[in-house]
Symmetry: C2
Subunit: 432 residues, 2 copies
């Protein structure tokens, strides 16, 4: 690859102590990859001067580009500016323009900048302060040998905003001639295990020539097949990505739930909104997770009418109209009860669609007949109800619950697609 | 510190591409710290031979101990064994004992090991294969100069089990003389911002001598003040940790919600269980998150009776008995409505305690009077109801929702403590 050699550096004692997980580096790697810059190494290092100076110096010696996060705050142990100056072999000077920006930030909030904050206005000789409109810590751009260092605050929201506003333009200017556009396609699959899907796609992936990469990532059983294609121009890259998607689709069959970078919940909400449809939930083993996932997104209130967490059987009977003798005869974890939950939710909340989920999330409560991971689903779609059962791998309670919500939302998405005319009752998709 | 210098290395293209976040390193750092070993650097590196060989060699040259994860699988790009052999300057040999274990693992699952898996039986000269009872990939222990390398699989469950069974005994044997016991205490605080709490504790933290560290970590507004004390023996370390906790407690006042490593939800469920009490929820802006958090834990069904996600106002009226004219007069986001939700949930589900949450999670929907982040809470505790309002920093929709659930659960925990005799009605705690 002809692109620049890039590394990412995350700075903070809390990270190497394991009290916080560094998610900034993965986010930066994705952004850089979208610009055509491959990251080959992350380093996470403590604030200790000797450790930080060494790690920052080494990264800059190896790479054309280093993006660092953290260590720009006002306290004694915020030493990223000092480490950068040391690596470049230059001094630090107080920058009145940065100080004015910091003072203005505080003034706008009716407060005064502290003496401590003066530390944040230090800039290594030859470096440029990057204004931070989202917090107090200015960033930094500094050439260190053949490497360019961008230092950003560690607070994710500030870091992301500054990356987009201050770093991306700098990267285009620095590396424009060396960057090839990258085009992504994402196919989202529910059903097979990651290993099984990998085996199924292996020969197609091996047969393709040129700079097209295919990766599979798994999130509680929802598999994202991500295609990344590079070429000299965006059109050729898009064509290569599309060609790969065309070759993979037949291998995915009905297990391909949807395409694109949206989350499954985003996709479902968008489809509901487009059709002017509404949904309600009745959850037993997922205990509110399905409602939570649907309401994670702003504007959910237009399409998500409400939900009931019917953890106790008496709530299934009283709140959702599940016949008590049905639970008695079939058990709470059964297809007929799941169907009754789905119908009950739709009717109680007056929604076009209802989802019912009842199962054994574990780690206890399984039987020979219904082991941990047995989950029954009900989908009430515009007047008719179907139900089905899955044996979810009992990896953990969390896995069973998250995977169950994906199953329910995928079924809802399929039902929405098969009957796209709002208000016109039609058959829900058959169980698979 | 006299302990060994430790680094952690995570290996995998998916990590440096940002498609997966490395959580293994933070977990390992916490485990090592509990053994008295401080980790000073993590490295995350791609599978590319040149990059991996260099990163692994450099880490082993700097450290007394390197724990690596990933790159032990059966495919071509699993190259951790090769990189370790290269760093040590030795060759790789096929280990019949490892191969027998791998074959047995497959046989026990009615399958045959593939030709690919033979790669997993390679061991660098002078190294020891670490048996993996939880998967196919054996681990590796190898001396590289003055450094000891432990290589573990990247799958978190396998990695964790192997760390406990194979690495911990090795560390005790290698570093026993250099390890001091570490004792932790955790104080969990809800109310102040992280910066404000840091300022409040600063002088106490600065005044303490000896190897006692105090760190603050924040998770959606719930602050954990974590004390770590080291000493030559466990009793002295515990005494030092307790002395620090005694000094910090008066500074925390009523904002100290509970002590210990449990999550707030775990603490609440344990207290409910101990008292034989039950809870039900009525959630508007948190949309099921409170129920979800309570049911994340196994055995929740004994104490969590059920919940309603009343996203729409008509559901508040119909399902929870909130008077329609109350919503009309006060607005859905108001203390009286929150109180009615809490009482309605407790009554509808027949629970001793009821929680009601209604607010504006954002990013839209705020007004001058009730900006984004305004959340009203109701707590119905054994017959009497109180309600209060909070202005939560509108950091993000997710933050407002998570912080709201902490607020509700903290209030429930306080109410449980103030009236610990089950069934005996008593006044809920006053609003603060």
């Amino acid at each position: 690859m002809s692109g620049p050699r890039a590394e990412v550096l995350a700075i903070g004692d809390e990270l190497v102590h394991g009290s916080a997980v560094d998610t900034n580096s993965a986010w930066l790697a994705r952004q850089l990859e979208d610009l055509g810059i491959a990251v080959v190494r992350f380093t996470v290092v403590s604030d200790t001067p000797a450790e930080l100076d060494r790690a920052l110096g080494q990264a800059c010696a190896r790479a054309d580009l280093v993006v660092a996060t953290g260590g720009l705050g006002p306290t004694e142990d915020d030493r990223t500016r000092h480490a950068a100056a040391a690596a470049a072999g230059v001094g630090l000077a107080f920058d009145p323009a940065s100080w004015a920006t910091i003072e203005a930030w505080f003034a706008a909030r009716g407060r005064a900048a502290g003496e401590d904050n003066r530390r944040q206005a230090l800039v290594p000789a030859g470096g440029v302060a990057l204004p931070n409109r989202w917090g107090t810590a200015p960033g930094l751009r500094l050439g260190i040998g053949r490497c360019t260092l961008f230092a950003l605050p560690g607070v994710p929201a500030e870091m992301r905003a500054m990356f987009e506003h201050c770093v991306v333009p700098g990267l285009r200017e620095l590396f424009a001639a060396r960057l090839n556009p990258v085009v992504h396609r994402t196919l989202n699959v529910l059903g097979p295990t990651e290993a099984a899907l990998g085996a199924r796609l292996e020969d197609v992936m091996a047969a393709v020539e040129g700079p097209v990469r295919v990766g599979i990532t798994a999130h509680f059983g929802l598999l994202r097949v991500r295609i990344a294609a590079t070429a000299a121009d965006r059109e050729s890259a898009a064509a290569a990505a599309d060609a790969m998607a065309d070759r993979l689709r037949p291998r995915l069959g009905e297990e391909l739930v949807y395409e694109g970078d949206q989350s499954l919940a985003e996709r479902v909400l968008a489809e509901l909104r487009e059709q002017g449809a509404t949904v309600a939930t009745a959850e037993s083993c997922t205990g509110g997770l399905c409602a939570k996932v649907l309401t994670d997104l702003p504007g959910a209130s237009e399409v998500f009418v409400g939900g009931i967490v019917c953890y106790a059987n008496r709530s299934k009977v009283r709140d959702l109209g599940v016949p008590a003798d049905l639970i008695e005869a079939q058990g709470a974890v059964s297809e007929p009860v799941a169907a009754a939950l789905a119908r009950g939710a739709a009717e109680r909340f007056g929604a076009g669609f209802g989802l019912g989920i009842t199962g054994i999330a574990g780690p206890d409560g399984g039987t020979a007949d219904k082991p941990v991971g047995t989950v029954c689903f009900g989908l009430h779609a515009r007047g008719s109800t179907r139900s089905w059962r899955r044996r979810i791998a009992p990896v953990s309670r969390e896995f069973v619950r998250e995977r169950s919500v994906f199953e329910a939302l995928a079924a809802l998405l399929r039902a929405l697609r098969e009957d796209p005319v709002p208000g016109e009752p039609g058959p829900p998709s058959p169980a698979r």
